[in-house]
């Protein structure tokens, strides 16, 4: 089939025009000013926006941590369940993901409001009301809620492949449940954990929707800043491109660091 490679040419042209050139343009805008002259000013503006970037990284990391904390045990339980139960739980995990994430986020908006359902129910018990919406906690909750399945599914798909004979062997060799979990299951599940962490961290760090809907206007993340610089009232593509570039590089670095933990095993548990 050697001579068939030409059929990939529409794809190659497409990738160059709509992926490579746009990224090139991001770099170009990031390093030029409004008149097109070369400058470092846009990149240096990161100092002005540092708090937003720092908040995004911290909140993304916290959300990822909670997803791992909540998701890992469930992935383990799923992988040890009967075949029918595994199929059902898989479907139950996917189902909310098929609903648009704006609607899922909206659901929490109505729950967390000052006169929302949670405060209403608490009020009948004589507690509260609590101020929950438009806080950092609400944003992190939204991230965990939206991206939890992205953590569970890759870990599950790796764990599910662990052969039951390994558990028996560990047991025969005198390992108790905890030791088996620590020395057999955990090392084997690592590729799935790495995939899960990236799949939760990247959309969390770069979101502007969750922060806008659940954080109100006061809790801006770097995504909100970039969005405002591109479609806001006073657009500035140059600074926006520079911030996007910084965000992209930071994510690439954190992914490279994560890969180091993974022993070169390729595509651990890529979902689907």
């Amino acid at each position: 089939m050697k001579k068939d490679s030409w059929v990939a040419s529409p794809f190659m042209v497409w990738v160059v025009i709509f992926t490579v050139i746009p990224l090139g343009m991001v770099c170009w805008y990031a390093f030029t000013d409004a008149s097109g002259a070369f400058t470092f000013d846009n990149i240096l503006k990161i100092g002005t926006y540092w708090t937003y970037l720092k908040d995004s990284l911290i909140m993304g990391a916290v959300a990822t941590f909670f997803c791992l904390l909540l998701g890992y045990p469930l992935a383990y339980i799923m992988s040890r369940a009967s075949w029918a139960a595994q199929q059902t739980m898989m479907m139950l995990l996917m189902l909310p993901q098929w609903m648009n994430f704006l609607l899922r986020t909206y659901a929490w908006m109505t729950l967390l409001e000052n006169n929302g359902l949670i405060n209403h129910l608490l009020g009948q018990l004589g507690i509260g009301p609590f101020h929950m919406i438009n806080t950092k906690g609400a944003i992190i909750l939204g991230m965990v809620y939206n991206f939890l399945p992205y953590m569970i599914l890759p870990i599950y798909s790796v764990m599910e492949k662990i052969h039951s004979s390994l558990f028996e062997a560990a047991n025969d060799l005198g390992a108790d449940k905890l030791a088996t979990l620590r020395r057999v299951v955990f090392p084997l599940s690592l590729p799935g954990v790495i995939t899960g962490i990236t799949m939760v961290f990247v959309p969390s760090v770069s979101t502007f929707v969750i922060s806008k809907l659940l954080g109100g206007g006061n809790n801006m993340l770097i995504g909100d800043v970039i969005e405002r610089l591109f479609v806001g009232a006073a657009p500035n593509y140059n600074v926006g491109a520079a911030l996007s570039l910084v965000l992209m590089v930071l994510i690439l670095i954190s992914m490279a660091v994560m890969k180091k933990f993974d022993d070169g095993e390729e595509t651990g548990g890529l979902m689907m």
């Binding site: 059929v7 992926t19 746009p22 343009m25 339980i77 609607l103 908006m109 405060n119 449940k177 965000l247």
Partner: protein, 272 residues
């Protein structure tokens, strides 16, 4: 043993409660007689009436479906051809192309969105072509769908025995016919997965559409976004309920078919 089983069952129930409770609340209050989202004032279908009479929402739904159908078809054609071509490409070029193919999947959506926005704005500014709108929306969707098509077709091509394609040609079959008769049936499951993924990803996308559509074309997620950003209306609850039911029916149907199929193959394997 017994206690740990009970514990894992409770844990599973709690996680799924966390995932589903907000959606259930959302759906319940879509039947509420008043605008309140915390106090039940009696059953009513008025929000559904409002929803189905809302021209903006229905129009946006139509745009979403049109974009998704066109993008899924174009992405599947380009992506399938690309997978076939990549298979017969020399190693170096192939790994470069696969890396480029990964970019839209690894990059945060917001960066993909703004990078294409920069391109479209520049082309429109220079030539007057590609005014941001329906066409740019379709191009953007094709761009982020192609990688998923390639990644679902490529494994099927790798599993295939290349000799049968050569055998067909040796027996006098012209290449194109040999491809359609021999290769196509083998990679069909991958193509179907690809088309379905492309369709759902396109239907679900908000972030990339938000940056690439200009003001002339609005997809359903974009309308939802502007509705939730203004003030909450129970119409959004009704819309969520409708979408949830559609997704539920689809997913159950697909799953039932898959499970039946797997049972059948298991059975025939046992019979043999």
């Amino acid at each position: 043993m017994k206690a740990s089983k009970l514990l894992s069952r409770i844990y599973t129930v709690l996680i799924f409660l966390f995932l589903y409770a907000p959606i259930v609340v959302l759906i319940v209050f879509s039947f509420n007689a008043t605008k309140s989202r915390s106090v039940w004032k009696g059953f009513s279908l008025r929000w559904y009436e409002n929803l189905f009479n809302d021209e903006t929402i229905l129009g946006a739904l139509w745009v979403s479906i049109e974009v998704a159908v066109i993008a899924a078809i174009v992405a599947t054609i380009i992506g399938t051809a690309a997978a076939v071509g990549l298979k017969s490409m020399n190693k170096k070029l192939r790994s470069v192309m696969l890396t480029l193919n990964n970019i839209p999947m690894v990059n945060p959506d917001i960066v993909t969105g703004i990078s294409m926005m920069l391109l479209f704005v520049a082309i429109f500014g220079a030539t007057g072509l590609l005014r941001p709108g329906f066409t740019t929306l379709v191009i953007a969707h094709v761009t982020f769908c192609i990688p998923y098509v390639i990644l679902s077709v490529l494994p099927k091509l790798n599993q295939m025995n290349p000799s049968i394609y050569e055998a067909a040609q040796d027996l006098g079959c012209p290449p194109f016919r040999a491809f359609m008769k021999v290769v196509m049936p083998e990679i069909m499951p991958g193509i179907i997965t690809g088309v379905m993924m492309a369709f759902t990803l396109s239907l679900d996308d908000f972030v990339i559409s938000y940056f690439t559509s200009g003001s002339t074309a609005q997809t359903l997620p974009m309308v939802i976004y502007s509705m939730t950003k203004r003030r909450i209306s129970p119409k959004v609850n009704a819309l969520s309920a409708v979408m949830f039911v559609i997704v539920l029916v689809l997913l159950v149907a697909i799953n039932a078919r898959q499970i039946a199929e797997q049972r059948r193959t298991r059975k025939t394997n046992q019979d043999i």
